[in-house]
Symmetry: D2
Subunit: 351 residues, 4 copies
């Protein structure tokens, strides 16, 4: 049984880690860190934990935490983890950072898109991008995991095999994505009020959402070359879920013909056939966020349009699970040698 | 490991049983019965089960089922279970009926409120009303369980201790209840379309909802006398959850004074102190359905109004879990000697 | 064409006044007061007004406003209107106050329930409670209107005729009410975030909601005696709408029998037959908030329960229209001698 | 005052026509046609019309209707209007058809995408595609209007000026669109139940939605050449509203440089500057469906991405108003010489 500490336990992602770890047979939470609610019961902030978790929230003391736990999850705003981590801490404890601090290898890109100075760029190289299905081997030995963003997890996994296999032209890639409102966090802001979100939909961060360079970097590794994409997120009136609809032009095969549905399917199966959490849907079936809600699954479907020579790829995840807390636990499982699906092997809740 | 069969597996309650049993360490489903989807994959009806359950749906053959399984859940319309059950079946298999067929002891009351003839009244006496926290001992040895209704589970448990302890006058009891739309089932009816339900709320079944006599009967046992109540359900725009707000006049104590908040709390604790699934909330905290969603919990709060001499009792459940499938699994656990919370011990999902 | 000023134009109720007045043939808004958004375009706060209203928001200067307009709507927190009004202002301009400042005749009741000192109790007596269907005659000549609360408008109108005609026992009255989230205002508070409200329902203000004494006072006038009630509001996941479900014991008629459905209907018709905005529904039809959305209608239905000797009364309004801005405009129409339904005569929007 | 008949009055679009015409000063409905509800009161189907419209629903008798009214709106499934219309009817009455029967000039394209035989192809040439802002002059004298589809109205108007002005390469156009559920109609189908739609989002009709050829045809006229596009609709959990997010590569200007934001804005203004119902949003502001809800507005915003050389165009409408009933009324206004905005000039309802 390993000991777990959460910094930022009272955000939606932090609380979701607490929910998942409660059902994990080999891990237990011993530190609910929340600067905003110090000394308040965690269950007074999240009533779903009433009579389940009695602990009070503690401060974000990473030094003390490093003595007490085996792994720290930082579910905090950008900059916090980078500002706290140091050699001593990393020598004592594994860190899974759910912020963007260590996701982007080029620190100047990070600083440009996030608008803040990086406080510990010396750890960026070491940090492993924790997209489990792609970087499993590197995750095993890592001390510091950069847990991927929610949009990025969905966007990358949906296109990865087709880019890797050069079935699509990466420069034509367009990612149009929709997210439930829990992705906006629990901060009290007028645009996230019920009456503002309900019965409406809006694009935001058009051409400049911070997940853009993260998607470009990771898919760039797959393509073997750098390229830019368009990524447009939208806020829709639901709690959980991300759907990415992605468009790209098909690349001609060596015989001059365009890839067929079979070619596309074969590429997906090559990379995902044995992946428990990636479900490649049958032809004609497209992902719906409700089928993955509360779970760690990624559902993927696709359709070729022969008229335009493009393929439409569609992926769905639960933004708080595979897009945050679930993938963080999956990373923890890999790092500690547990069964990778431990604590994550259940049926999505519907309706 | 016991074997489980579901008749009516493709309704919302049936599918919820399948979801819960999947995580149950001592039970497995071997029969997904669904007359409407025979020979179709269960996971083609409920995409959340894709790659998890590969079985196809089977017919509602209770005789064959009785040979193959240890327990049958009937999550079917009223009348079906009563029409199929017989001595031989009951001698071979336990039955947990989620319909109303065996909930009401007086067959004439059943036939009047449900408007159908009861096909096997000879089993009504034997059937145990499966409200686990109240009838645990009888459930242990039962062959046939009448799993309580969703509104009734919430309404009864919220008022039971105060009626049992004669702190409130049962004749003054008014139950005003709100339900998410999954309670209306998965049938394709215009009033349950998204656009009809969303952004609206409506009362229905005013004075004549079928759960009324069930509440009256069970609370009548607690009171030691018969009485009538007002029960008004409302449909609200959410998927899961029931909230019951109940009003009753306080009864004077032997010294002529009215019960205090301490008296009320003591009564709840007397009956529920050791109940894992009933959470008595602190003073000033009232239940919210989001805190119990996807779980088997019943959250209960109360407030005395000294101005009017009434107590307001409030209870919340997830209608598909404690109000249907979860309680059914809890009944199964009791009947088979498993830990009562087996497969049901997890944190409610929020948001 | 009269000139209108709004103080608090950027709250939901204030903006709804602006929406309604735009379609009013005899009134125009010349002052969009909003302390929070001074010098910002009104349409930058409420995008629905883009290209329709070009004015910028102004300060809450009631003295200046009194020179410029014929009527001021104060859609502001409690205490603001009472703190600004004075003899000179009242001599120049009509005021329709949407706050609670002048709704309650007994200043000590106001100060107790609202927890603030009343700054101009000398105008309470003069102020007319602007429940149009009940106080129409007094409204005509008034200088200062206390526009009723949203819950109170719905609760009072639903029960008024039966209390006035002594068909029900007022001391048994219980009002269980449900409100959409716009009633909570546009302030940025965590409990009103989309993810907190969506997929949930909760009671609040149990036994101590501030609309309680307002309902009691007004219905007390109808009853000819003081009495206390239970009023329990609930927050439900929709934008607009209030539904009140009210319970009361029927009073015996002079011949010893209980009132019939015909008696109840006759009482409603006696008071509401000619009321354009009150729609008494046919037997067996109960109000649904969607049928009144965006409109000034009050839909009322009822059902007698002979088993319990109670009548269940149900009323529905749009909280922002008949519960706030619409009734305010209706009051304006009465005060200025316009057709009472002017600017309010349209079909509710559905779905 | 002209007389109006509706065939298909009890669908969502039909009822929306009734709502709008009620507030129209120069038109009145004299025929509520609905085969499904013959002899039932229209207001018993749509409670929002209670006490407002007393008429009963009538049959779809177009011959009789032609004698009685000045204009017929057919808000019916594909094929019905084409099956009923004939020379005599067209000589007596104007027809505004909200179905797709006369939208597509090439009957073989219609028959291929809709899968039905066209019963009166002889009127296709005469029919005017009623996209008011583009075809206003032709609409004036038309007898038969093909009222555009909801997705198409939004998709076309959002891209039209940029294609017309050759600022974008039409072959690169991708339209990713989101619709509220009223677009799916009022038919009782399981996928449109509240619990199936709520808390989920899904793509559908991928590469083969029927609005695709309609968009291609109309934008092809603007481009002066034929081309194909990708159009992907998604169903999202809200009642009303369509948002189209459109992507296209910028075309080099004659000097070899790419168009700037000023160029894009100038193109939009060239075509839409005087259009009351098209609102070109300021730089950095993107459309949200809530700002157009219940209204006839089209809100349009855009953003150039210099990194990818694309422009992202975004448009929002209310699918039942500008996407159906509102545009139909706008067409009626043009045909009968009324002020084009008559009956449509009001502030969108929010929240």
């Amino acid at each position: 049984m390993i000991k777990v500490g959460i910094i930022g336990a009272t955000g939606y992602a932090g609380a979701e880690i607490a929910r998942l770890i409660y059902s994990h047979p080999q891990a237990e939470i011993v530190w609910y860190g929340s600067r905003s609610y110090i000394d308040e019961r965690f269950s007074s902030v999240y009533g779903n934990f009433f009579n389940i978790v009695d602990e009070k929230c503690l401060d974000d003391n990473m030094d003390e935490l490093a003595e007490k736990v085996d792994v720290i999850f930082t579910a905090t705003p950008q900059g916090l983890c980078a500002g706290l981590v140091n050699d001593e801490i990393l020598s004592k404890v594994k860190i899974i950072d759910l912020s963007a601090d260590f996701r982007i290898k080029d620190v100047s890109v990070y600083e440009k898109w996030y608008g803040i100075e990086h406080k510990s760029p010396q750890y960026i190289e070491e940090a492993v991008y924790g997209l489990c299905e792609i970087n499993r081997d590197k995750i095993k030995g890592a001390r510091l995991i950069a847990n991927p963003g929610c949009y990025t997890t969905c966007s990358i996994l949906t296109a990865y095999p087709l880019i890797k296999e050069k079935l699509i032209d990466p420069k034509t890639l367009i990612v149009d994505a929709l997210s439930g409102t829990s992705g906006a966090g629990r901060g009290a802001k007028t645009p996230n009020l019920f009456c503002e979100v309900n019965e409406s939909v809006k694009p935001y961060g058009v051409t400049n959402h911070r997940h853009t360079p993260e998607i470009e970097e990771q898919l760039g590794y797959a393509a073997g070359e750098e390229f830019t994409i368009n990524f447009t997120p939208h806020l829709i009136p639901m709690n959980r879920g991300i759907l990415a609809t992605e468009y790209a032009s098909l690349m001609k095969k060596s015989d001059g013909s365009l890839p067929t549905a079979s070619d596309i399917r074969a590429a997906y199966e090559k990379y995902y056939k044995d992946e428990k959490f990636i479900r490649l849907l049958p032809d004609g079936v497209y992902p719906e966020t409700k089928w993955v809600e509360t779970s760690n699954f990624v559902d993927i479907g696709f359709k070729i349009d022969e008229r335009t020579g493009r393929v439409i790829m569609m992926g769905a995840i639960d933004n708080l699970v595979k897009g945050a807390a679930g993938q963080a636990v999956q990373n923890m499982n890999i790092m500690f040698g547990f069964e990778e699906s431990m604590g994550l092997d259940f049926v999505p809740a519907f309706p």
